[in-house]
């Protein structure tokens, strides 16, 4: 019998609160802080938050005001290398959590793609370097005509 991949979760009171938000904190390659450091820093703030340590950084859930305050505090640790974004599902939600699924969760693949260029983005934010990459243009039609006529 196949597993149920669409469980109806038993949501807690916090999950139904429209003011509660979840943010993902992702550390770029070359960050000067570790995942555990940012988690312990958030615990030290003593705010009513749910914090989860993950392989890419951390996940934090709570009232939007508290989450904003926590993000502001941890960004100071390494402004260029700490990236954050919203997450639709709460930490550990069985509909998205990898623990209940077979294989990575849906959002993993894009994060994997973005992580590859995240180090360069962080470097660009740390120290601006004005670069103009020459645009690739198609081959000139006259050149193509000449080559065709030669043969």
């Amino acid at each position: 019998m196949s597993e149920n991949l669409c469980p109806s979760p038993k949501l807690s009171k916090e999950d139904w609160d429209p003011d509660v938000v979840t943010r993902m904190i992702i550390l770029a390659p070359g960050a000067k802080v570790s995942e555990s450091e940012i988690v312990s820093e958030m615990h030290m703030l003593d705010l009513p938050l749910t914090i989860k340590n993950t392989c890419y950084g951390a996940m934090v859930s709570g009232k939007s005001k508290d989450v904003r305050e926590a993000l502001k505090a941890i960004r100071k640790l390494d402004p260029a290398h700490i990236f954050t974004k919203d997450r639709g599902f709460a930490p550990g939600d069985p509909r998205r959590c990898r623990g209940q699924r077979f294989g990575p969760r849906e959002g993993f693949h894009q994060m994997e793609k973005e992580y590859r260029i995240l180090g360069d983005v962080a470097d660009a934010l740390e120290k601006r370097k004005d670069i103009t990459v020459p645009k690739k243009h198609p081959v000139d039609i006259d050149l193509v005509k000449d080559i065709m006529n030669e043969s």
Binding site: L5, C6, S8, P9, L11, D15, W16, P18, V21, T22, M24, I26, F83, T84, K85, D86, R87, G88, F89, D93, R95, E106, G107, H109, Q110, M111, K113, E114, I117, L118, D120, V121, D123, A124, L125, R128, K129, D130, I131, T132, V133
Partner: protein, 176 residues
Amino acid sequence: MVEIAIYPPNSLILADLIERKGHTPLALQKQIRQKIKDPEIDSPPMNITEDDPIKGLKYAAIEVPSGVRGRMSIIGPLIDAAEAAIIVDGAPFGFGCIGCARTNELSTFLLRDKNIPTLEVTYPTNRDETFEMVNQINDFLDSLDELVKSDGDFKDGVPEEEKENLEVVEKELKED
């Protein structure tokens, strides 16, 4: 503070760069969160309900597949609320969360067609291109407050003054 539509709508890099400059990214995750907290949805991971393709009729015709209209019912309100837009072109396969090429095309078309300042950048493939993309986005975000207040014509994402410049350049090229 300007509300900016991003494409792909769940992009970490775009959302983060926008928030760093004090603007608001119109990310898809907020819409999804509203959906999954809706007690009327029986099977919450299947976020599309029978009402969604009907709501999507605002953005796509009845002949368009219901999958596109259902997706548009979630992405459409973000496009409606957008005061500016940043679109990433030429992204590799698997980049973005929509999972539907036609919805991608329709969403970018609606953003380009809307009379708002739009920045289109190419997905970077190396370090230099990444630096260029970040600089372009930061410059665009810095100038955004003025662009939004200017009430200019941003059809096709190009401000009116720049359109005039383009016409001059085109004329000169023809003369040459």
